[in-house]
C-alpha cells in the first residue's frame, strides 16, 4: 500500500469535515464535523508513523483521541447549557451580538 493513499483519504476526510463545519448550523453537527477533521489527522499520523518506522505517530493519535473526548464532553455541556436557556441549538439563532 502506498502512503499517498492514506494521505489522500485523510485530505478528503479533512475537506468533508471543513465543509460540514461551514454548512451545518446545528451545533452538535458542527462538532461532529470537527471530529471528522480529527479523524483525518489520525489517519495521517498513523500512516506517517508507519512510514517513518516510529511509534510516535500512534502515540500522537492516542493523545488526539483522549483530548477529543475531553473536548466533546465540555462542548456538549455548553450545548446543554444553551439549550436550557434558549430551547434551541441553532447557530443562526445564537447570534445576539453584532457589530
Amino acid at each position: 500500500m502506498y502512503l499517498n493513499q492514506f494521505l489522500f483519504l485523510a485530505a478528503f476526510l479533512f475537506c468533508v469535515g471543513v465543509y460540514g463545519v461551514l454548512a451545518r448550523k446545528n451545533a452538535v453537527l458542527v462538532l461532529m464535523s470537527i471530529e471528522l477533521i480529527l479523524n483525518a489527522v489520525n489517519i495521517n499520523l498513523v500512516a506517517f508513523g508507519l512510514f517513518r518506522e516510529s511509534v510516535a505517530g500512534q502515540v500522537f493519535a492516542l493523545f488526539v483521541i483522549a483530548v477529543a473526548a475531553a473536548e466533546v464532553g465540555v462542548g456538549l455541556a455548553i450545548v446543554i447549557l444553551i439549550y436550557r436557556n434558549r430551547h434551541s441549538i441553532d447557530l443562526t439563532e445564537v447570534d445576539m451580538m453584532k457589530g
Binding site: L22, V28, L36, A66
Partner: protein, 248 residues
C-alpha cells in the same frame, strides 16, 4: 529516527498484496460514505450513526497498519463513548427533528462551503504532487518501531518520552469532568445567598470528586445525567439577574 531519505520504498512495495488493496478499498468506501453521511444527513441521529461507520472503517485501517491498540481505542473510546455521548445529547435535547438541520444557514453559505472544501481539497492534492511522499510506500509488513507487541511499544514511548504530556492530559481530563459537571448542572444550586445553597452543595461533592481517581473522559456528561433527566422547562430564557453583569 529514520533519516529522511533512507526509505527502501520499492523493496517493500513487493509485500503489498492484493488482500491489502482490497481491505483498503473497502475501508475507504466505508470511511468516505460515513463522512459524507455525517455532513449531509437530515437527521442528527443518522449523522451520529454515519460517524460510527467512519470510525469503524478507520479502526480497520488501523489494524491493517499494525496499530492494534489504537484500533481498540478507536472502537471503545471514539465509537463507544464519544458518539454515544453525541447520541445521548441529541436525544436528550430532542433536537432530532429534521427541519432543524436542513434549512440554509445563510443564503449561499452552503455553495460557498462546498466551493471552499473543493478548493482546499484541490490545493492539498496539487501540493502533494511531485514530492517523494506521493510515491513512497508504507511498510505494511514491518510494524512501527521494531518488533515487539504494539501495546508494549506504545507504553514504552508514552511513559518515557511523552510522560509529561501524558500527565498533563490526565490533569486535563479531571478539569474537563469537573467543568462539564458544573456547567451542565441546573440552577437551584448556583450562588444564591440562601442557606439552601450550602446544603445542596453537599451532594455534589462526591460526584465531582469521584472522577479524580480514574474515570474515563466521557464520564463528564454522564455525571450530569441525573440533572438532565428533566430538561429544565421552568427556566425562562434571560431570567432577570440580580447580580451586576459588568459592563453591558
Amino acid at each position: 529516527m529514520t533519516p529522511a531519505l533512507s526509505i527502501t520504498a520499492t523493496a517493500i512495495l513487493a509485500v503489498a498484496t492484493k488482500v491489502d488493496i482490497a481491505v483498503f478499498a473497502a475501508c475507504v468506501v466505508i470511511v468516505l460514505c460515513g463522512a459524507i453521511g455525517v455532513v449531509v444527513s437530515r437527521n442528527p441521529v443518522h449523522a451520529a450513526l454515519f460517524l460510527v461507520l467512519t470510525l469503524f472503517g478507520m479502526a480497520v485501517l488501523f489494524v491493517a497498519q499494525e496499530a492494534h491498540f489504537l484500533a481498540a481505542v478507536q472502537v471503545i473510546v471514539y465509537a463507544g463513548a464519544i458518539v454515544v455521548l453525541f447520541l445521548f445529547v441529541i436525544m436528550l435535547l430532542g433536537v432530532d427533528r429534521e427541519e432543524n438541520v436542513m434549512a440554509e444557514p445563510l443564503r449561499g453559505q452552503r455553495p460557498l462551503a462546498f466551493l471552499l472544501g473543493a478548493i482546499a481539497l484541490a490545493e492539498i492534492f496539487l501540493l502533494a504532487q511531485g514530492t517523494q511522499w506521493a510515491t513512497g510506500a508504507t511498510q505494511v509488513a514491518g510494524p512501527a518501531g521494531g518488533p515487539g507487541s504494539n501495546v508494549e511499544k506504545l507504553a514504552r514511548v508514552i511513559f518515557t518520552r511523552y510522560l509529561l504530556a501524558f500527565e498533563v492530559t490526565s490533569v486535563l481530563l479531571v478539569i474537563a469532568v469537573v467543568g462539564a459537571v458544573v456547567l451542565a448542572r441546573r440552577y437551584e444550586t448556583t450562588a444564591t445567598e440562601s442557606p439552601a445553597a450550602a446544603q445542596v452543595e453537599e451532594p455534589q461533592s462526591p460526584r465531582s470528586e469521584a472522577p479524580l481517581s480514574a474515570a474515563p473522559p466521557p464520564a463528564a456528561p454522564d455525571e450530569s445525567h441525573p440533572d438532565e433527566s428533566h430538561p429544565d422547562e421552568s427556566q425562562p430564557a434571560g431570567e432577570p439577574d440580580a447580580a451586576p453583569s459588568g459592563a453591558r
